[in-house]
């Protein structure tokens, strides 16, 4: 138990500290460093999941969040190459306010739901089952109880991916451009080389 507790505090402290470090003025000016600190905190969170016996969840956290998603995140941030001045300029627009309002609403709903679930659920120590958090258990849940939401989410992601491709696809007309062709009047069959005309001769005198 003490080992587990020790690990919990260590991992928790790591997660909190690495997230807090993102806000420090020294790192906050560099979005890349902030994004990398986010990855570090994802790793600590993965450790916490593992501590809760949710092995699958923890490894998926690393593969999906720390791996795939954050690679794309840093990719975008690095290629934007924002200067520190641009980042420090907060601009408020109606669209942002609307978006923020919607986000707050959803967040409130989620909190509410978590609170409801917490009060309604019986206090069962799930970790006592030795199958808890294993791949089999999660798979069973995903393909029986949560079949419909799971499939809906995957359809949603597919649509998003297709939409992103459509939006990002550029006009590739230039790429297929033919090699510039020489002037028309030169395209005559009469100049078939090899008749010695075009060839400069051996020892020709002027």
């Amino acid at each position: 138990m003490p080992t587990e507790l020790l690990l919990f505090y260590a991992l928790g402290a790591g997660a909190v500290l690495s997230t807090a470090a993102m806000l420090l003025p020294t790192t906050g000016r560099s979005p890349i460093h902030a994004a990398l600190l986010l990855i570090v905190s994802f790793f600590f969170l993965a450790g916490l999941y593992a501590l809760l016996s949710a092995h699958l969840l923890s490894i998926l956290q690393i593969i999906v969040y720390a791996g795939a998603i954050m690679v794309l995140f840093t990719f975008v941030i690095m290629l934007l190459n924002l200067s520190p001045d641009e980042i420090r300029e907060p601009k408020i627009s109606y669209a942002k306010m609307l978006g923020g309002g919607v986000a707050l609403f959803v967040f409130g709903k989620l909190l509410n739901g978590i609170g409801l679930a917490a009060s309604a659920a019986k206090a069962v120590d799930l970790t006592q089952h030795d199958t808890f958090g294993t791949v089999k258990e999660v798979g069973h849940m995903m393909y029986s109880t949560f079949m419909v939401p799971f499939e809906l989410v995957s359809v949603l992601l597919l649509v998003a991916a297709v939409g992103a491709v459509v939006l990002a696809k550029k006009n590739l007309a230039y790429v297929d451009r033919p090699v510039p062709s020489p002037a028309e009047e030169f395209k005559t069959e009469g100049h078939a080389a090899g008749d010695g005309e075009a060839a400069a001769g051996h020892g020709g005198h002027h």
Partner: protein, 399 residues
């Protein structure tokens, strides 16, 4: 021989106007070279890239400029030969022959038959050696210096080594031979030379089959070279391209057949011509030319002419050759195309012992002039493959 006065119409500008390029595109300028492993020497290309696709390519040769043509005007005719070895450093023998042929034309002397026979064999061996380098480096450019490309490169260099051994036996040198002189050869054929040549070309012929298996049956290699960097026949004609690159685009011209020199008028030179004009065609054509050279050497070795190897007495010093006023042009078929030398001799230039002006028409310069035409629209990787398939030698371009 008459010169064609065909004046091609002005070429359209291959460089697109970047202002008119798709608005909002992020273009990146990338300097390929001059210190880049795949530009075959010190050659710089400024690429404008949209992602990995080349939008515009501007070539900047000149990093290897040595002022050779000016140097010719200071040296005597006999001193010029070792200098031209360094021009096309992959086929020094043919450079030596070409420049001595223009001097011989200026003097109006006939080279003895045995010397011409030697020159023909040497030229064909040199062509094989040079094409082996071209074949090897093209695969190297496609396949990487640490990978399959390097293996092929090693194999072709192993075969080229056989030819260098033959030349070493003849001249004592492996690269800068200085064996041709005005009027003939400096070194006579060593004993057992023909047997050595026959065994070397037999080995190379076998290796060619292996290269064929390694490349044309390799799907990745075909994908990388087939249909890449297509050069049309019209553009090839208009840019004055001949040699393997022109012949791979359907320009049926080979000076060995169409304006024969040495002993080529007695030989029936079969000139391979391909119509595709892509990298694979250029690659295949070089292999075909190596086979043709092997055939020619076999025919030549059947009948060894006897006699002197030089028309003039061995020169006692650098001042022996004097050319009177006049202008001469001699073009020979180098492994890269027509290598021409244009000599203006004057009795006033260093008392007739030095050229008044000697202009080189290097085939590689015309190959390099293709860069703004062939590269746009291709990716960066293909640009390297295309450059490799053209096989320019920068020593010759920059002179």
């Amino acid at each position: 021989m008459t010169f064609s006065c065909l004046q091609p119409p002005p070429l359209p500008d291959p460089h697109i106007d970047l202002e008119s390029y798709e608005a909002g595109a992020d273009l990146m300028v990338l300097n390929l070279g001059p210190q880049h492993p795949s530009t075959h020497g010190v050659f710089r290309i400024k690429l404008v890239l949209d992602g990995e696709i080349i939008v515009k390519a501007v070539s900047y040769p000149g990093y290897l400029h040595r002022g050779v043509e000016k140097l010719f005007e200071k040296l005597t005719y006999a001193q010029v030969t070792p200098i031209v070895d360094k021009n096309d450093y992959l086929s020094p023998m043919i450079n030596e022959q070409a420049i001595n042929m223009v001097f011989e034309a200026g003097l109006g002397i006939e080279v003895p038959r045995r010397a011409r026979w030697m020159r023909t064999i040497i030229a064909e061996l040199q062509r094989i050696a040079s094409h082996l380098v071209a074949i090897g480096t093209f695969v190297l450019d496609v396949g990487g210096a640490i990978g399959g490309g390097a293996s092929m490169f090693m194999y072709t260099f192993r075969d080229r080594e056989l030819i260098l051994d033959i030349f070493e036996e003849l001249t004592g040198c492996r690269f800068h031979y200085n064996t041709h002189q005005v009027g003939g050869q400096r070194h006579d054929v060593p004993v057992g030379w023909d047997a050595k040549i026959l065994s070397a070309i037999a080995t190379i012929e076998q290796s060619l089959d292996m290269y064929d298996t390694l490349t044309s049956k390799n799907n990745i290699f075909r994908d990388r070279s087939e249909g890449v960097g297509v050069l049309g026949r019209d553009l090839a004609l208009q840019l004055g391209l001949n040699g393997p690159v022109g012949r791979a685009s359907g320009v049926d011209l080979d000076l060995r057949r169409d304006a024969p020199y040495h002993l080529y008028d007695e030989l029936d030179v079969h000139v391979p011509v391909l119509m595709e004009g892509d990298c694979l065609a250029r690659f295949k054509l070089r292999a075909l030319e190596v086979r043709e050279s092997i055939r020619l050497i076999r025919i030549l070795l059947e009948d060894v002419p006897e006699g002197p190897i030089a028309a003039l007495k061995p020169s006692k010093g650098p001042t022996a050759v004097k050319i009177k006023d006049g202008q001469w042009y001699v073009g020979v078929e180098s492994p890269r195309g027509e290598l021409g030398h244009y000599l203006i001799a004057s009795a006033s230039a260093n008392k007739g012992m030095s050229p008044y002006r000697l202009k080189i028409r290097p085939p590689s310069l015309h190959l390099v002039s293709l860069v703004p035409w062939l590269l746009p629209g291709n990716s960066l990787s293909d640009a390297i493959a295309i450059l490799g398939s053209l096989d320019p030698v920068m020593g010759e371009v920059d002179r």
